[in-house]
């Protein structure tokens, strides 16, 4: 192979590698912003409870590792409600059927039947903008009176967040 072709090939390979790294960093950045936005919304929805100290909300850093993204730092959220603590923890950006998942469970009850998921999914069938949804465990779905048990993914709103927290704290 002539030297020019070899050099072109090497430069192209380097460019692709840098692009992959850049894409990965962008994806992590976008994911971290989505988590921050979720936490900010949770704090807004729970402001009245935080104000009268019924709930005490805090955050701390952890590291997540995903095969395609590598290792990166994110925040977890803790909501103290008297003797009970709710933990909100990012699980990953690369999720089957969603563009990110954050789990919420009561400390000491991390099994699937008591796990609420925040899922980042398209707003609707016609609008691909990702927004946060809440997915309830089977046991909780019945408590949301207006939903048939099989429809466990509901819009993330103040009312649904409060109901999910109520389920976990009971």
């Amino acid at each position: 192979m002539p030297l020019r072709d070899t050099l072109n090939m090497l430069h192209e390979s380097q460019r692709r590698e840098q692009q992959t790294i850049q894409d990965r960093q962008n994806l992590i950045q976008e994911w971290k912003q989505a988590i921050e936005s979720l936490y900010a919304q949770i704090r807004t929805y729970l402001a009245e409870y935080e104000k009268d100290s019924s709930l005490i909300i805090s955050e701390e850093g952890i590291r997540l590792t995903e095969e395609t993204l590598g290792s990166y730092g994110v925040q977890t959220m803790k909501i103290a409600a008297g003797p009970a603590t709710i933990i909100i923890q990012p699980i990953g950006r690369m999720i089957i059927g969603a563009q990110g998942r954050v789990d919420m469970h009561r400390h000491g009850r991390a099994t699937e039947q008591y796990r609420v998921m925040f899922l980042r999914m398209p707003k609707s069938a016609t609008d691909a903008t990702p927004i946060w949804w809440i997915r309830l465990p089977v046991e909780a779905a019945g408590t949301f009176g207006r939903l048939p048990p099989q429809e466990r993914t509901v819009p993330f709103e103040k009312a649904t967040l409060e109901q999910a927290l109520d389920f976990l704290l009971n």
């Binding site: 995903e66 990953g92 999720i95 089957i96 059927g97 998942r101």
Partner: protein, 182 residues
């Protein structure tokens, strides 16, 4: 399939096809665990991470492998019984004929044919083992018992996670060796 195959071989061939399909599907699923197809096939659930999906897939295929191992033994045992049944019928017919021609003693002269079993009396591997046990090696006889127990245990509610006590290959060899004797 060649003519020399026994019905047990045919059952084993069905098992091999199923086993190959399963292995190919397992490899395909694990090569791209996050593909929607794995959710559609029921191998995993929506909203799982790659690690969770891989574990779901491994667990699902472990169960399916156990299932087809159990089913293969049931299929081979049924094929074996089906093969023996007409031969037993012929043997019983022949025994009856000999009885009719040669047995003239009282007090059972009128009911002499009842001294011979019916084909239905040999249903099941246990009765077959009793009948021809004397012609079998101790090892073959023991394996036949295992095959019978595996089949009965599965039919009566064995946990799918518990694999059969015999292998499908050994089941095939054992049942074929009995067919050769009979």
């Amino acid at each position: 399939m060649p003519d020399t195959q026994t019905p047990v071989d045919e059952a084993y061939a069905r098992y091999e096809i199923l086993s190959n399909i399963l292995e190919r599907t397992r490899q395909q699923a694990l090569a791209n665990p996050m593909h929607r197809r794995n959710v559609e096939l029921g191998l995993t659930k929506q909203f799982r991470t790659k690690n969770e999906v891989e574990k779901d897939i491994q667990d699902a295929f472990e169960d399916l492998t156990n299932l087809i191992n159990h089913l293969a033994i049931i299929d081979m045992a049924a094929a074996f019984e089906g093969y023996l049944r007409p031969r037993l019928g012929t043997a019983i017919g022949e025994a009856r004929r000999l009885l009719r021609e040669n047995y003239e003693l009282e007090p059972f002269l009128q009911s002499r044919e009842k001294l011979v079993h019916e084909t239905d009396d040999f249903q099941g591997l246990a009765r077959i083992r009793e009948l021809i046990g004397g012609q079998l090696s101790a090892e073959t006889s023991a394996t036949l018992s295992q095959i019978r127990e595996d089949r009965n245990n599965f039919a009566h509610g064995t946990n799918i996670r518990v694999p059969p006590t015999t292998t499908t290959k050994r089941t095939r060899e054992t049942l074929n060796s009995i067919i050769e004797v009979v």
